[in-house]
């Protein structure tokens, strides 16, 4: 009997927990992370294609004809040797930059994919994704990587872009880039640059890990933002406490079956009740009105809101 109660307790509590966590987990119930904010150029359904069906983004195949970056002055100057993080816009302090760089190198060592973060004050206009391709070709990172994913941020026009190269497109398909972009742009909009880059690096590792298992994230296999363990434990505790209180209180209630009666319905002779008077008299009416709450839709966060659009190998937008 107790095991049956424990089973019902567990199932009730699990149901409450799943519902609670589903509410606090963005993208769990509805996995389209960019509701209404993605340009129509490449619909999300594209990600439903079989893995590898997307055209791999080689340096020659993506976007407009690529000018040879080496012909003019280099697009990015890197004076610190091999580095995955080039912060020309100086959005990071030295310690933050070192931490990110170390994380990127570990990923490169593990997966052979360059995860790069680039910031500039002004990338020169045009499409930031084309600029990223040229940067990758110049290889200011001195990593000589063939496969990579790059997050670039230009502060003057508040542009950002995620571009993939070579085999990395398998892990960072359109769904993946838009999902990562959707998370990263929140921190960028708040001007939490380190937070944005840290999220990008960690998410990149997560996406690469999943791709290595043979099931890269896609609309059929969506990425779920992980919930901190303390939140899971706290919700589990509260849900369990509520369900347990319900069970034990019902046991306690069953210990007392005394209930005082309020009426005497059982002693009313059947069919003896009949109405002798019935009238409804209208007296007056009152009308009250309350102002409707004003909605602040369309004002965004003062930066004009964020936007995003995708091509076959890159995703970019404003923050």
């Amino acid at each position: 009997m107790i095991s049956r109660m424990a089973m019902s307790l567990a199932s009730c509590t699990v149901a409450v927990l799943v519902l609670s966590l589903a509410c606090v987990t963005p993208g769990f119930a509805a996995e389209s992370p960019l509701r209404g904010s993605v340009d129509g150029a490449v619909p999300l359904a594209e990600a439903a294609q079989p893995i590898g069906a997307e055209e791999p983004a080689t340096l020659e195949s993506v976007g407009e004809p690529i000018p040879d970056g080496t012909a003019d002055s280099p697009l990015l100057e890197n004076t610190s040797g091999r580095a995955c993080v080039i912060d020309q816009a100086e959005l990071l302090d030295a310690e933050e930059k070192a931490r990110l760089d170390e994380a990127c190198r570990k990923i490169y060592d593990t997966y052979g994919v360059l995860v790069a973060v680039v910031t500039v004050n002004d990338f020169g206009g045009g499409d930031i994704m084309d600029w990223q391709i040229r940067v990758f070709k110049e290889d200011p990172f001195e990593m000589r990587a063939q496969d990579g994913v790059m997050l670039a941020v230009s502060t003057s026009e508040r542009d950002w872009g995620i571009q993939t190269f070579g085999g990395a497109q398998r892990a960072f398909n359109t769904y993946g880039r838009e999902r990562i972009g959707g998370i990263v742009v929140e921190s960028l909009s708040d001007e939490d640059y380190y937070g944005a880059f840290d999220d990008f690096v960690k998410l990149s590792e997560r996406f690469l890990k999943e791709a290595e298992k043979g099931k890269p994230y896609s609309s059929e296999h969506p990425y779920r933002k992980s919930v901190p363990i303390w939140i899971i434990v706290a919700i589990s505790f509260v849900a369990s406490l509520v369900v347990s209180l319900g069970i034990v209180s019902s046991w306690k209630k069953s210990m007392n079956t005394q209930v005082r009666r309020s009426g005497a319905e059982e002693y009313l002779k059947p069919g003896s009740f009949h109405l002798t008077r019935s009238s409804d008299v209208f007296l007056y009416h009152t009308v009250s009105r309350t102002p409707k709450p004003k909605s602040n839709s369309g004002s965004g966060n003062g930066n004009g809101g964020s936007s995003m659009h995708s091509t076959s190998s890159g995703t970019s937008g404003k923050f």
């Binding site: 992980s226 589990s236 046991w251």
Partner: protein, 360 residues
Amino acid sequence: MDFVEYKCPCCGAALKFSSGAQKLKCDSCGNKYDVAALEEWREAEQDTSEPELHWEYQKEAQGAKRTADGKYVCPSCAAEIEVDEDTVSTKCPYCDNVVVIKATASGEFEPDFMIPFQVEAGDARQRLENFCRGKRLLPRDFKNRSYLKNMKGYYVPYWLFDCDARADMSFRATRTRTWSDSEYNYVDTSHYLVHRGGEMEFYHVPVDGSTEMDDKTTESIEPFDYGGIKDFNPAYLAGYETDKYDVDARKAEVRAKERLYNTAEAALRNTVAGYDGLVVKRRQMGARSGKISYALFPVWLFETIYDKKKYQFAINGQTGRMVGELPVDKGAYWKYLCGFTALGTAVCSLIGILLFGGVL
């Protein structure tokens, strides 16, 4: 000549008769009222008294037939038995014969009706054991206590109230309509005065006439099946304990009225429909053919004291309905609460971490 001042039901301001509209008009809030509606309103406002329900009680006219010394001789062994003045029947301590104390079981205290026991002692004991079975919060040492042996069959004195009742009630009712435009939400509330009157017959509404019995207990074991009711016959008392009433009919009336009012209000309320809000403004109840009867109803009773608190259990001696309050083992309560919470937290955290913690 008396002048009547009509006040606005909405704002309380004085009303004036508008000859053009042929209605009474309020200059303060602008509402207009039919004269007939105002009359009904005024009637409901003024008549707020709740006239008493009156029952006739035949027994009060009869004289007392009690012995003075309170001692009786057992008809079986001729031993002298001492009983207190409330005792109607008892067991002779010498020959174990059940003795009906005829002097008190007649006259003023002779019941009109009774329902004989139909549930056997063994059956009652089994019902109590079943009631305790499966109660995880019941203290372990309580189950084996002597209360099971202290079970007694007991005829509980009840007053039965009969009447043809007339109820008249007024309600303030509201009906609301809402709509919106681009800037405001509107609520239009229409106010009504609703009258309902009805007649109904009540038969043998029981009220416990013993202070020994907890009223909550005696009402919980209701209802009795009046199909089995019989005229009082002392022979049915043999083998059971019986006390005369110590709550007189007039005192018991208070509780009877309360129950009748509640039932009448519920019956009349059920006839009012189509409103969003309903508040009782006035209620009146009167009774014709009111009659009070005195009856003895069978109850199996168990009493025990556990942890300095008295616990009373009762079984309807006719229908077998069991009621009572069992003690709660606080240690077991907290043990189960903490145990379930800990178990639930562990299981749910594990599942939550697997599903949402990024492990899978």
